[in-house]
Amino acid sequence: MIEAHRAALRDWLAARAGAQGCVVHFMEKLSGGAIQENWLLRVEMQGGAMPGPRELVIRTDSPSSVVQSLGREQEFALLEVAHGAGMTVPEPLYLDSEGAVIGKPFYVMRRVTGTTNPRDLTRDTMLDYRRDLLTHDIGREIARLHTVVPPHPDLDFLGPPPENPARQRAESFLEQLDGLSDPLPVLEWGTRWLRRNAPESERVTLCHGDYRTGNIMIDDARVTGILDWEFASWSDPMEDIGWLCARCWRFGMDAREAGGLGPRAELYRGYETEAGHLLDWSKVAYWEVMATVRWAIIAHYQGLRHVSGAEFSMELALTGRKAAEMELDVLTQIRAIEEGD
């Protein structure tokens, strides 16, 4: 679809970069990304802000999108803020919020190298020499993002910060559960528990909202870019930590509690190194339950996207069935917390 707009894209890129000309040598759709599409572009600019050969990535919507997802314009603003906070992200370059160039809104960023593939990253023994340091770095990265606090002039679209992020998140599940035709008593029960046990938040900061293995680009055991910003919000920083560490995002490598990549203690140490002080991590268990319920609800919706015909996908179809795994985890996690009390 984007290929049909190649000439318009070329001229737009040249104009934005202030170049005399631009040649698009190559474009290819990148794999992954159930909600958005990413296209790799190899271009050569004559003069302007970035002369010579460049590798760029264009990000735009996929055929069907999911609830609670931010638009491209907002994602671009988040990337700029994260970049400004010192986080390792693909540098955001240009935005077309009108959809005038390729028929839908998109933005351009610098390409970052490496892989986000969770199956490879959690199992590749070539990473083992640096797993502790990698996990430490992943802690440092998210700590940098969590220095951004509301209000922020470029992030008005995120709305006012919630008074109690945990309660607000759990209450948003009720509406989502009502939108599913089948009764899901385990998730209803988990949501009830989350509402009744919602902790007060010491801080509310900018949170990534999908900070996990699969959205962290890694090259030679080093973080090269934090991707996929469409679920960012003002929240409790522990939500990002719980999401990364929840068992359902360890891709089967349970013993490496930080996303199947490395030890939890290193993640915490990296975070504290960046923050400059020690933190109370005792609420992470609560936020891991939140993560598991949230992912289970998303999984049910992903299955429906396939069943409804909105998007054919073997992966989406199986993800709908995968929700049962998260549901057993919800039961196990909450019982462990209740019995530990």
Binding site: S31, G32, A34, T116, N117, P118, R119, L174, L177, P183, L184, P185, V186, E188, W189, R192, W193, R196, G214, R247, C248, W249, F251, G252, D254, Q302, M314, E315, A317, L318, T319, R321, K322, A324, E325, E327, L328, D329, L331, I334, R335, E338, E339
Partner: protein, 139 residues
């Protein structure tokens, strides 16, 4: 009504062929797609084989009876599946209204666990023994 081999036997043949003759030659994204197809077929085979096993439905209804009484379970529908669905609709309202707040890990937990385990015994039995997550996890 159907010729031999029956539905499950045909799918079983398809699954074995996929695993033994096709999957070994695949790699990367195509291998992943192949594994997903195998997983889907295996789930359907388990579901077909479970069609005549009424024990799981009976166990769930027994747990519902502990919670709501035998009479209410009986009047919830004309067959087991329909009763479970109607009772679950009732259950989610009660959970939301706080009916089980005093004892969230009591009898309601036993019922929820039974239903979760039964669904997993069809979609991914390995998860029950080893808590092993299935393919795929969204990348």
């Amino acid at each position: 009504m159907f010729d031999k081999p029956n539905r499950a036997e045909l799918l079983d043949a398809a699954l074995r062929t996929l695993r033994e003759e096709i999957l070994p030659d695949l790699d990367g994204d195509r291998k992943y797609a192949g594994l997903m197809v195998a997983s889907a077929i295996a789930t359907v085979i388990r579901e077909i084989e479970s069609d005549n096993n009424h024990e799981p439905v009976r166990r769930v209804l027994d747990h519902f009876a502990d919670l709501y009484g035998q009479d209410n379970v009986h009047h919830a529908g004309v067959d087991g599946e329909q009763r479970i669905r109607a009772l679950n609709q009732h259950l989610i309202r009660d959970i939301r209204d706080g009916e089980f707040d005093d004892d969230p890990t009591g009898p309601v937990y036993t019922l929820l666990l039974e239903q979760a385990l039964q669904r997993l015994s069809l979609s991914n039995p390995k998860f029950i023994d080893a808590s092993e997550y299935s393919q795929p996890s969204s990348s």
